[in-house]
């Protein structure tokens, strides 16, 4: 049995920004291969691990890409100009150490500007022309020998787990989700019980730039149920604590999303997961978030998919000091395993791929009996 946080660290060591997930994908494919009936990499680069069953089709995903930077260009002095990938808050990037794909290191700096112009800007006015990376290169040639245009860059920062089991460090988002899903595959393999469900565990690409990989996977697999396993905002620190009590906290259990910026989760599906949690004595929280996850991308494919998030609550998302609790990650794993140990049900619903219909989808120009045509 692999430790979730050790697995997360190993994956985070390979992680790069959206579009540059190949190294992580190769590692996940290698780790997942002995655990599933079939494992493949699809066109956009998602790693799909299939555990066969005859029941309802369930897609469970976590994303492999991380936020960071990509090289836009190098100037004549050898300074590297960057473009942001994903929702990085720039004020938390000042002076950070970056590692480029090929191993070159540099520090992110802000352009001071004439008479301290930068310091007089409003926080929302920071643009891509306000920051650059200093490789210590003497000139353009020296810099271009170290990095090239289009190369990705990620944070290098310390990582530590506290005595109380809180992990502090970069890229829990969503390498912890990937680690949980690898552990889930391990558990399904060991128990040999996936409740007869037809399970697709998908490690997606390009989540941080618009949930693109999951959309492709959802479209292709047309599952009955979809779960994104990601991190979500813990609202328990002074940086974002709301005035009311009852907000989601670190260490208080998996968060079932009620809504986020892109999704209102399927009510029946959430109720089902809550029932599973309660039957198994697994703590849970219901949460709201201002972000979005992979779950939103395929809710509308085919005839529609019942989707939700089962998330690990996290403080300081998209910074180099992301914080998550070990107990939350382990409870997400237990909840998923418990849910999959019995048939997922859903018999009262149509199948998203239309395979339960007399006429296949698209026949008669999509017209169906019962539709009202004007």
């Amino acid at each position: 049995m692999t430790d979730i946080f050790e697995l997360q660290a190993r994956l985070a060591g390979t992680a790069c920004v959206s579009g540059i997930e190949q190294r992580t994908a190769a590692l996940i494919r290698e780790l997942a291969a002995p655990l599933a009936d079939e494992v493949w990499i699809d066109t956009p680069g998602n790693v799909i691990a299939h555990v066969r069953g005859t029941g309802r089709k369930i897609l469970i995903c976590a994303h492999m890409d991380v936020v960071g930077f990509i090289v836009r260009g190098v100037d004549e002095k050898g300074f590297v100009w960057l473009s942001r990938i994903g929702g990085v808050s720039l004020q938390s990037c000042w002076n950070r150490l970056l590692r480029f794909e090929n191993g070159a290191l540099g520090t992110l700096r802000f352009v001071s500007g004439e008479n301290g112009a930068f310091a007089k800007k409003k926080v929302g006015e920071i643009t891509e022309d306000d920051y650059y990376c200093d490789l210590g290169a003497a000139n353009r040639e020296e810099a271009l020998a170290a990095v090239s245009v289009g190369e990705g860059a990620v944070w290098v920062s310390d990582r530590r787990e506290t005595a109380e089991g809180v992990l502090i460090g970069p890229y829990a988002d969503d390498q912890v989700g990937c680690a949980i899903l690898l552990r889930l595959l391990e558990e399904l393999k060991e128990s040999g019980n996936s409740g007869g469900n037809d399970v697709y565990v998908v490690f997606t690409v390009r989540e941080e730039i618009g949930v693109i990989g999951a959309l492709v996977a959802g479209n292709r697999l047309l599952p009955d149920f979809g779960i994104a396993v990601d991190v979500t905002t813990a609202w328990d620190a002074p940086i974002n604590r709301p005035k009311y009590e009852g907000y989601t906290r670190l260490g208080a259990g998996p968060v079932l999303t009620v809504r986020d910026a892109l999704l209102i989760a399927d009510r029946q599906f959430n109720d089902r997961l809550i029932a599973v949690a309660e039957e198994n004595g697994i703590p849970y929280q219901q949460g709201f978030s201002k972000g979005g996850t992979d779950a939103s991308s395929f809710q509308g494919v085919g005839r529609g998919v019942a989707v939700t998030n089962v998330s690990v609550p996290q403080r300081y998302i998209h910074t180099a000091e992301e914080m998550i609790a070990r107990s939350d990650a382990e409870h997400v794993l237990r909840l998923l395993a418990a849910f999959l140990s019995k048939p997922a049900g859903g018999a009262d619903r149509e199948k998203p791929d239309g395979s339960d219909r007399e006429k296949p989808d698209g026949a008669d120009g999509g017209k169906e009996e019962g539709d009202i045509h004007v």
Binding site: K120, D134, I168, E321
Partner: protein, 343 residues
């Protein structure tokens, strides 16, 4: 043979903020010991390494204290309130990981209301609205590890850039000049200096050059050659246009925010550089003081100048210097220290 990167990274890992220098003091004393005629630590914590000579009494200080945080309170939810030790900007606080004495890694963040109110980046946040989070799960769990009075430092480490020519490191200010002093001591091993030399690893510079003042009072030097960092302005992050370039040699101090160098000492350093083929620049430091500020008028008159290391992004968690500038600074300090100085 001392190696710049190796010494700097060892000092960085050992160092703690002003007033808490015991660990780096011990390491520095151990490293300097083979090259010293006499070595002692004074009551304030300054480590004083003597090379005996007959002539002018020269103090050569480099400060060994670093910037950091000190815990003032732990709130009802286990978040840590703090004050800074030395000058750390708000943006640096909010974008730098810290580590406490017990090894707890911490993030510093600001309360939401304050971020929303900020008009501009300069005014982005006030440390009164900030807190440090060591993965708090309540007051009690934080208090198991952290108590008021504990200190924290940057949780960043020394790295080589550009194939090792360039070093980016926390606390180049002023551990990299402690390295210059060690290199100078090594260079002087077989020399017979014509001056009476006191190499001093000073305490509490960042909070107001306190160690240097005490050392100057009890050592009564005639001359002070301070080793500290100066602003390199050859990157886009430089905040004003007066300063130096990295990689073009150590900088001979003309002035700083609190001292004017004496012409005789400046000329002495220039001749030492030229006689030994050591590249140099002049350090015209506009803002900020150094140990020379305190030593110059601590007791009677101490004639001062210095050998500075041009440094990009001073007081940030990654300060950038040229490794060769440090090697040359070690040579220049040694050359100036053993060359007869008459005042």
């Amino acid at each position: 043979m001392f190696d710049v990167y190796d010494l700097q990274s060892r000092l960085v890992e050992a160092a703690w903020p002003s007033g808490f220098e015991a660990s780096q003091a011990k390491l520095l004393a151990r490293l300097a010991e083979p090259y010293a005629d006499e070595i002692r630590t004074d009551a304030l914590g300054n480590v004083i390494v003597r090379r005996k000579g007959e002539g002018t009494k020269i103090a050569i200080p480099a400060h060994m204290d670093v910037l950091g945080l000190i815990v003032t309170d732990i709130d009802k939810d286990g978040y840590i309130r703090f004050d800074t030790i030395g000058g750390i900007s708000s943006l640096t606080l909010l974008s730098t990981p810290f580590v406490f004495e017990d090894g707890s890694l911490a993030a510093v963040r600001a309360e939401a209301a304050r971020i929303a109110k900020a008009d501009n980046i300069e005014d982005f946040s006030d440390k009164r609205d900030m807190y440090a989070d060591v993965g708090a799960l309540g007051k009690e769990t934080t208090e198991r590890r952290i108590r008021p009075g504990m200190v924290a430092k940057y949780a960043t480490h020394t790295v080589k850039l550009a194939g090792g020519k360039i070093i980016s490191t926390p606390y180049a200010d002023d551990l990299i000049c402690c390295v210059s002093l060690l290199l100078a001591l090594e260079n002087l091993r077989d020399a017979k200096p014509e001056n009476d030399l006191y190499f001093i690893f000073t305490a509490q510079e960042e909070v107001g050059t306190r160690g240097a003042r005490a050392a100057a009072y009890h050592l009564e030097p005639d001359v002070c050659i301070v080793a500290d960092v100066c602003d390199a302005i050859d990157s886009l992050s430089a905040e004003y246009p007066i300063g130096n370039k990295i990689g073009e040699g150590p900088a001979i101090k003309l002035r700083d925010g609190g001292s004017l160098s004496h012409r005789v000492i400046v000329d002495h350093l220039v001749r030492a550089a030229e006689e030994n083929g050591i590249p140099y620049q002049f350090d015209p430091m506009v803002y900020g003081g150094t140990d020379a500020t305190a030593m110059q008028h601590a007791r009677g008159v101490v004639l001062s100048s210095g050998v500075s290391i041009p440094t990009r992004d001073i007081h940030s968690p990654y300060e950038t210097v040229s490794a060769d500038d440090v090697v040359q600074a070690g040579k220049l300090i040694a050359a100036a220290a053993q060359r007869k100085l008459e005042i």
